[in-house]
Each structure stands twice: as C-alpha cells, then as structure tokens.
C-alpha cells in the first residue's frame, strides 16, 4: 500500500490523542502529547522520501545522486526542538499543579471543570 506511512502517522496521532483523553496522570499526559508530535515527524519524513534516495549530504556522493528532500528534514529538526520546549514547559506546569492539588490526576483538578 503506497500511502501506508501516511496512515501510520494518522494512527500515531490518534493513539496519542486517545492517551491524552484517557490520561489519569499529568506526566503520562505530557508523554502522550509527545506521541502526537512524533506523528508529525513520520508524516514529514514520509512526504520527503524518494525511492532509492539517500541522505542529502553531498560530502562523499556525486551531485547527480538521488537524494530525499532536505527541506522536510530540516522542518523535522525544527519540530523536535519545539517538542522539547513544549514537554519541558508542560512538565513544569505539572509540578505546579501537584503543588496546588497534591495530585497529578487531571480528574481531581476540578477548578477548570466545565
């Protein structure tokens, strides 16, 4: 199936989303957010893949060699840095929540309940 890698990305994203909704622990929830983000790496790299293509580094390959798309690869790099920043920030927010509620269970943080 030629679109399987894209469907894989969609599946990873939905799996992460399920984790976020069903989470009973904020640390677990942050990990689920990272799972969602990793779906974007799969999607980006899959979009840029070229059959028979190699890494777009021309240090030791002829310039005529087929290479995969360098633009999506650098976007993935950007994506990773954003993921780290988001995780670090969310984890420190989780610590703050623990300070106020003595619990990491989002179900027990009732202040924001609608």
């Amino acid at each position: 199936m030629s679109v399987l890698p894209y469907l894989l990305a969609a599946w990873i994203f939905l799996a992460g989303l399920y984790g976020i909704v069903s989470s009973r622990n904020l640390i677990h929830l942050v990990v689920c957010v990272s799972v969602c983000q990793s779906a974007t790496y799969v999607l980006l790299l899959a979009v840029g893949y070229k059959k028979g293509g190699t890494a777009p580094v021309f240090a030791d390959i002829p310039s005529s060699r087929r290479v995969v798309d360098p633009v999506v690869q650098s976007l993935t790099l950007t994506d990773l840095v954003v993921a780290v920043a988001v995780s670090a920030l969310l984890l420190s927010l989780a610590l703050k929540v623990y300070d106020h509620h003595e619990s990491l269970d989002p179900g027990e943080v009732t202040e924001l309940a609608g």
Binding site: F58, A59, T78, L95
Partner: protein, 243 residues
C-alpha cells in the same frame, strides 16, 4: 462529566478526525514518489551556491535562517519559563545534600562518558555543514555531558560545573549572537542573516561563510537552554529528596 460520556464524545471526534485524515492522505503521491520541486532545487543549489554539502543544515542555518531564529527564541522562552515556574517554588538553594555515587566503576565510566560526549558534541557542531549534525544536535549532546556528570558522579560536582550563572549567560549569548549576526549582515547592506563572508571550499571545515557562526551561536543557545532546563529539574529533584 462522567468518564463514559467523555469517551463517547472522544470516540465520535476521533472517528471524524480519523476519517478526515484518511481522506486527506489517500490522494497524496504514493510513498517514495516525491513530487516537490523545492527539495530537489535546494539539494542541487546548496553545494554550488552556498558551498554547503550538508543541504539539511544549509536549509536550517541559511535558506531558512530567519525561521530558525524564531525557533531559537522559542527554546529560549521555554527555558526561561521553566526557570520562572520552578524557581518560584524553591525558597533557597539546596545545601548539604549528599548523593555521592559510591561505585567507583560508575563514577569512572561516567567521567569518561562525559568527556567523550563533550568531544563528540563539539565534533557534531563544527562539522554541521559537512556531515549530518549541526548546532542543534551538537548543542544537545554537549548539554547531555553535564547530565551524565549528575547521574554518575554526584550532585555537588554537577553544581560546580553547571551553576545557574553558567547556563543562563551561555544561552543568552547564543541567542543574542544569532540575532546579532543577522544585524551585521544588515550593516553590510545585505538582507537579514545573509552570508557576508567568504564561502570557502565545499566539504572543508571552513565552508559555509558566516553561517558557520550562525551554527555555533545556535549550538551555544541550545546547549545553554538545555543546561538551564536540566538544572531546574535537578534542583527540584534534590529539594524533594532533601525534605
């Protein structure tokens, strides 16, 4: 809202989103039949036009250098926010914590690994335009050398080499230098972050022109940013162990 209703709502939403995602990807060009012209163009141009053989790094620090600056500042903001949030919880620095790792084997291997990580980190940073790597990856490796010291040697040794007065200025200098390099280009009458130096011979360590310095400044910013984040969490961990 009961858990059950929540799951029903989620299932409906996930089904809808899943259907949309599937609908969105089935018409994409099949895997491996890459259609985009930009990547091909960059792969062809970067080695000739910018003398950078690693085209991924060429995109990050040259063609999309301005976007990378935004990303740099995003990391800067996140590290600052972590420091702000966590420091507010702590009244004072932790003193008198004894968490010496007692196994000499672990200490020895840890110290060795830290030195090796520093060397590998510098190697990855400086060869950014030649081999896979660059400022971001190298900066993270450099910072992980410090984390290894904490994990395998002791907290006090970590505090001595990674004081807050070390990570913060490094990060700030890196982020500032990145912006500064853009302004220098403006001063030469060029566009923001445009190359203003000799491009060098492709494949050599000195190739890439002024983007080399952009690469190094981002390495410093990432290294410093990670150190700040590590330090805050480690400090937090020690405080809890202390009590």
């Amino acid at each position: 809202m009961s858990t059950r209703i929540r799951f029903v709502i989620f299932a409906l939403g996930a089904l809808g989103l899943g259907a949309l995602l599937v609908h969105g990807v089935v018409d994409l060009p099949s895997f491996g039949n890459y259609p985009g012209p930009y990547g091909d163009l960059i792969a062809k141009l970067a080695p000739k036009e910018r003398h950078m053989v690693n085209t991924v790094t060429a995109v990050v620090f040259d063609y999309r250098g301005f976007d990378t600056m935004g990303e740099e500042l995003l990391l800067f903001g996140a590290a600052s926010a972590v420091a702000l949030l966590l420091r507010e919880r702590r009244e004072e620095d932790v003193h008198g914590v004894d968490d010496r790792v007692t196994s000499p084997a672990v200490r020895g291997v840890g110290a060795l690994a830290a030195v090796m990580l520093l060397v590998i980190g510098l190697n990855v940073v400086s060869h950014g335009f030649i081999t896979p790597g660059g400022g971001f990856q190298g900066g993270v490796i450099l910072a992980s050398a410090f984390a290894v010291v904490f994990l395998t040697v002791e907290y006090r040794a970590y505090r001595e080499i990674a004081t807050t007065s070390f990570g913060e200025p490094v990060e700030a200098f890196g982020a500032g230098a990145y912006v500064g390099l853009g302004l220098v280009a403006l001063g030469f009458g060029l566009s923001f972050l445009q190359n203003f130096m000799e491009l060098g011979i492709p494949g050599r360590l000195s190739s890439g022109g002024s983007a080399i310095f952009v690469n190094f400044s981002s390495a410093l910013a990432v290294f410093g940013g990670f150190l700040v984040i590590f330090s805050e969490y480690i400090e937090e961990n020690m405080r809890e162990r202390h009590q």
